[in-house]
Amino acid sequence: MAQVILDKVRKEFPGKPPMVALEGLDLTIADGELLILVGPSGCGKTTALRCVAGLEQPTSGRVVIGDREVQDLPSRKRDVAMVFQNYALYPHLTVYGNLAFGLKEHHVPKPDIDRRVREMAKMLGIDRLLDRRPAQLSGGQSQRVAMGRALVREPQVFLLDEPLSNLDAKLRGQMRSEILQMQRRVGVTSLYVTHDQAEAMTLGDRIAVINGGVLQQLGTPEEVFRRPRNAFVAAFMGTPSMNLLRGTAEDGTVSAGDLRVTAAWVANGPVIVGFRPESLAPAEEAPGVPRLEMVVDVVEELGNETLVYGDVAGEIATVTIDATLPAPLEGSRARVAARLKGFSEVRRGDRLQLAVRDESMHLFDAATGEALAARARS
């Protein structure tokens, strides 16, 4: 159990020009905390994890585990344990052998090894599998063995590299809660890497959103979701993504397409207006708030809610994330998503008047993407 600190960790990979995976990352993980590193592919989160693991050496900066500086130590001396994305179970050893491997390497006496392996196996529900080989295990079982191998060593730090991405959706949900339970039970400081923002939201004590090797925001799930520090975080967290429109602020009014918002404190100039799909509601339900008109294109009935996609007057503001964001439409229309409660009678082609609840509106600087302080009030 220990605190983990990444202090201005920078990682460059050789090349012409050198590829910078991490630009001076500063992160402190409290003792016993489960911190999620989340971000799109290639953002540097895995590199950060591997720097803590000792599988990569930072180009500069420090990595501190507990009270030791470890950036110059090889992995085996760091007292960390890791669950790999593909599990990396030793194929020639039984489950028992896999679990015992690390303990043997640390010269734990044999009877203790046996006791600890069996206890861990029982805790993870794999005690019946101890004589099997990895090739005979299912995905979920392999995952548990991988976790067992890591936790049986009672490491100071527990690292997980996208451990759930190879599982099917149903299993993923189940394993997610199991991982959470284990972590709480054992109380080990954990660093968890994922590209799935939903996973990040449900799992972490805190989330670190990373993009392009730079930490975008560090905070609790609620903070990151409700108070994104910049447009990237705002768009990355949440599905469907937050709607972002280009707007202009002039004399205290922000206009984006048909939307008009009063924000007296905003300086004149271009801004980005953001509102989540769930903050949109049929206009009738919320009189007196900013509204816009949508021409409905796609309706997805999900039972407890309906997702409506359509275009509005305005221009999409794009931020550099993955390509699943809606592309700007031709001319001056923007694609916007709305999340409506329950079943809806909306049909394709309808003109829908939507109200934007003001407390969920965000304004961002058009040049830097930084969130602008104080929220808009209509």
């Binding site: 090349g15 110059d72 992995s75």
Partner: protein
Amino acid sequence: MSYVAVERADTLGAAGVSGTAPLQGPETRRRRPSGWHLLLVPVALLMIFPFVWLIITSASTLAETRVFPPTLPAGFPVTWIQNLVHNYREAWTQAPFGRWVLNTTIVTFTVVIGNLAFCSLAGYALARLRFFGRTALFLVILATLMVPFQVVMIPVLLICKYLGMVDTLAALVVPNLVTPFGIFLLRQFFKTLPVEIEEAARIDGATRLGTLVKVLLPSMAAPLATVGIMTMLWSWNDFLWPLIAITSQDNMTLQLGLSSFVGSHVTNWPVLMAGTVMTQIPMLLIFLVAQRWFVQSFASSGVKG
């Protein structure tokens, strides 16, 4: 993790090395030359030295080789070149090396083509076509793989005698036109190809043979290269069978000829070395040019084994 893996693969060279960076640990990565060179340099030198000495000797005069301890031949580079020309010309004229090269080329070429063609046909049939006795036939072919050549060499010689092939190139070609090794390798590979491709071709109207030639073989560069290269190397360097099948000098292959050359030049080292170099150059050149193909062929035939 993908971009990191790609990065690592880029720096690891063509033959695809799995690096061991994580185990080296940060402590050893301070730009110190690796200790592994201490093993590799002597090994590489030991491997190369016979070749080097071979070439140097072929650039010596006879007198220089009759001195103990031996020295580097005098007069680099001019005299060396003079010696080289002299020795190689001597070798070339004192024995029909040219003829031997021709013989070996004809034999190897025919054997390789024959194997590629017939082993493909047989391998495909054994893998994909259903016919009476298929399993039995495959087992028999497999069994012949197990039997060492020495068991069959005398009867094969007798068969060649009855067919009037003894002391002709035919004796070197015909028995080796198809080898169980090639059939086995190609059959295994055919089995790994998806059946759907063939079915699509057949639906499009192709015949079995057409499918094989136009659709399947073009996508089988690797196993075909393996069969081709292994067969070529083996045929070019084959010694025992030519030894017992060929008696007249003009019909000899290169290796057989070389060994007979030893007999008459056992003390004329420079000329003998020159002759040896000449016989090895073709394969060495091909190897240097296509090293990756060679290595891949050996590796994959080992995997199948």
